[in-house]
């Protein structure tokens, strides 16, 4: 049923339909409303066979998920920013224990200065954790992503945590029509969780053992292999979802105008506006295409190599910085295309801490790249010239 709802409700509704056993979170803007909505559903008895816990911190919340998931439960949490990096120690641990925890990250900037607004810095901290990351463009995609996240994470070929990344405020607080899923659709798509190993007195097992150097490396290689397997599992499940729901969000990446000479690459809610910008620029005669990266981890290297092999110029819009280097998305992309592309890279870091990225601003950058007014390289865009002084 199509309804005008906020992004956080779209997520909460979808989580409910996935029937998690344990939901545990700690409030943090702009995630809070997701769990507030779930708390309301819990209070109204809409969540069956489910425990809803407000933890003492995100660290506690993630740890509770580890315990619950290890005991064989399907679990959910949502967080972002400081909360996510407070969880990070636990999430690295959960990935190593191969627990299929699902988290929605309402992407938000990191402190300092404190900012509640959107960028992708928090996700990047978790880049190397062994957690799958899917970036969504709008609230319908966020709504649809949750059941897929569970199915992928719980697939026995994968068994790794999954993080659905949706831009804080830009999506979470946007009020727009979303076709809300029916229970039957999700039930038919997502089977109950069948853990491969779990804590039970009927068949005792020890989880989270420590490994001597003689063993440790094998477990880490196994995680990498699981990530590699996840690529094909994800593609299969993305397709399956398109059939079941009638909404095809594409594979790991979505390519618009595959024959273009110039490609714009981005993730998250910015992609929508870039679609418009690219269409407008094409009307001006600029041969520009768009690549939306949906799956950020595992990084869809093969898809990107294929899509960008003939590109002449690649414009990357990063929403975070690896200080001392450049935007992480650009770093990843350059590494993926090494020896596969001779395109010039235009790596731009934009929209940090919720800095708005108006249409004309984005169009201007791409136009300048097309007209040769921009040199290849790395730059921040959309900030004011400044001088640092002492108060």
């Amino acid at each position: 049923m199509k309804k005008v709802v906020r992004g956080f409700y779209a997520v909460a509704h979808s989580v409910k339909l996935c029937k998690p056993h344990v939901i545990c979170a700690y409030p943090i803007t702009p995630q809070t409303e997701i769990v507030e909505n779930l708390a309301e559903m819990y209070a109204n008895g809409e969540l069956k066979n489910c425990e809803y816990i407000t933890a003492e911190s995100e660290f506690g919340a993630a740890s509770i998920l580890v315990g619950a998931s290890a005991a064989g439960a399907r679990v959910f949490s949502a967080t972002c920013s400081q909360g996510l990096i407070l969880m990070s120690e636990v999430l690295f641990n959960a990935a190593g224990m191969r627990l299929p925890i699902v988290i929605v990250n309402t992407n938000r900037a990191l402190s300092a200065p404190l900012s509640i607004w959107n960028d992708h810095q928090d996700s990047m901290v978790l880049r190397d954790a062994g957690i799958m990351q899917l970036f969504v463009e709008n609230n319908q995609e966020a709504h649809d992503a949750v059941p897929q996240a569970y199915k992928i994470a719980e697939d026995k070929r994968v068994l790794l945590p999954f993080m659905v990344c949706m831009d804080g405020f830009k999506l979470t607080h946007a009020y727009e029509p979303v076709d809300l899923l029916e229970e039957e659709v999700v039930d038919a798509f997502l089977p109950p969780y069948q853990p491969q190993i779990y804590l039970t007195t009927k068949k005792p097992v020890a989880m989270g053992c420590y490994a001597l150097p003689a063993y440790y490396m094998e477990f880490r290689v196994a995680m990498q292999q699981a990530m590699e397997r996840a690529k094909s599992v994800m593609e299969k499940i993305y397709k399956e979802w398109a059939e079941v729901s009638g909404r095809d969000w594409g594979g790991h990446i979505v390519v618009e105008y595959p024959d273009a000479k110039i490609f714009v690459v981005a993730m998250g809610s910015l992609v929508g506006l870039l679609r418009k910008v690219v269409n407008d620029l094409r009307k001006e005669g600029i041969d520009v295409g768009l690549i939306k990266i949906r799956t950020f981890r595992p990084f869809p290297v093969e898809n990107l190599r294929k899509a960008l092999s003939n590109a002449e110029k690649i414009v990357v819009f990063d929403r975070s910085v690896s200080f001392g280097y450049e935007g992480p998305l650009s770093i990843e992309l350059k590494s993926a295309l090494y020896k596969y592309s001779s395109a010039d890279f235009y790596s731009y870091i934009v929209g940090l801490g919720g800095r708005d990225m108006p249409k004309d601003f984005l169009a201007g950058i791409i136009r300048d790249v097309a007209n040769g007014k921009e040199k290849p390289g790395v730059a921040f865009k959309g900030y004011k010239e400044f001088e640092e002084v002492i108060p």
Partner: protein, 291 residues
């Protein structure tokens, strides 16, 4: 059927495994064990050498109470609570220092957990660094004895008061010197719905600087001097105390351990010994230990 296997890697005379084995036997193995990083984890859960005969999980150093809470929530949601109790075995550092946040959360939410703090009074796993439960005067690698300082200056955190302040329905202390007491208290804790906190004084042969065969004798001395009172609270009320006949002076306890022996000759040693004696006297008065 063993619930905890021989062949584990503990030092000869280790107090931890005495507490563990008696706890598991008291519960007849019907339990889930959560264990933070620490000595017990290292001696029992090496990959390929798991000593546990019951379901066991180790996650991190500072999150065991939350992990246990997660198991509790999962069992409740999935209708599996009859499988057994959830038991935490955590060291004093994991309990009173780094893990106190998640412990407070779990106590506050009153999860159905038996939380056992195996108190050997320092970070023994990593070579004897001071924790919040290290008593004053103890020489550790991070509170070493020097020309000025006679070991740890601060005090031992009162985790019993911490648990009581959280309204835990069952709070008790015990010692590896009294396995029957451990068993009784674990059984009692298991019969109570909600969070049970049991702090068990657990000898550490390497950290304390004693021989393996002194393990029990030294732990018993801690009780007999009044330094480690054995008490039991139900719903905030003191219900039992282990009485001491002819309470011994604390010096008897201190002089047999390397961690305290410097107090006998350090310029400030006398002062510390007096302070420790004062603590023992206050314990005796507070709980009525003498008798």
């Amino acid at each position: 059927m063993k619930f905890f296997g021989s062949g584990h890697g503990a030092c000869p005379g280790c107090g931890l495994t005495i507490a563990v084995k008696n706890t598991l036997e008291a519960l007849n193995g019907k339990c889930f064990v959560a264990n933070p990083t620490g000595c017990l984890e290292i001696i029992s859960s090496q990959y390929g050498r798991n000593a546990w005969g019951v379901p066991y999980i180790h996650s991190l150093f500072e999150n065991v109470a939350a992990v246990a809470a997660g198991i509790d929530a999962a069992l409740k949601a999935m209708g599996r609570r009859d499988e057994g109790k959830i038991v935490v075995f955590a060291g004093d550092g994991a309990t009173a220092d780094i893990g106190i946040g998640t412990l407070s959360g779990a106590m506050d939410r009153n999860h159905n957990i038996i939380y056992i703090c195996l108190d050997n009074e320092a970070y023994q796993n990593t070579g004897h660094q001071q924790s919040g439960l290290t008593p004053p005067g103890e020489a550790t690698t991070t509170t070493p004895v020097g020309k000025i300082f006679p070991g740890k200056i601060g005090k031992k955190k009162d985790m019993v008061a911490f648990a009581l302040a959280h309204g835990c329905p069952y709070v008790a202390t015990s010692s590896v010197a009294f396995p029957a007491d451990i068993r009784r208290k674990v059984k009692k804790a298991a019969s109570i719905e909600g969070f049970a906190y049991i702090q068990i004084h657990s000898s550490c042969v390497t950290g304390w600087g004693i021989d393996g065969n002194q393990s029990i004798e030294v732990a018993r001395l801690a009780v007999e001097t009044g330094l480690y009172p054995i008490v039991e609270y139900e719903n905030g009320k003191l219900v039992s105390v282990r009485k001491i006949k002819d309470r011994k002076p604390v010096i008897e306890y201190l002089k047999v351990q390397r961690r305290f022996r410097h107090l006998l000759k350090h310029p400030k040693g006398k002062e510390i010994i007096e302070r420790l004696q004062q603590i023992a006297d206050e314990n005796a008065k507070k709980y009525g230990l003498d008798g």
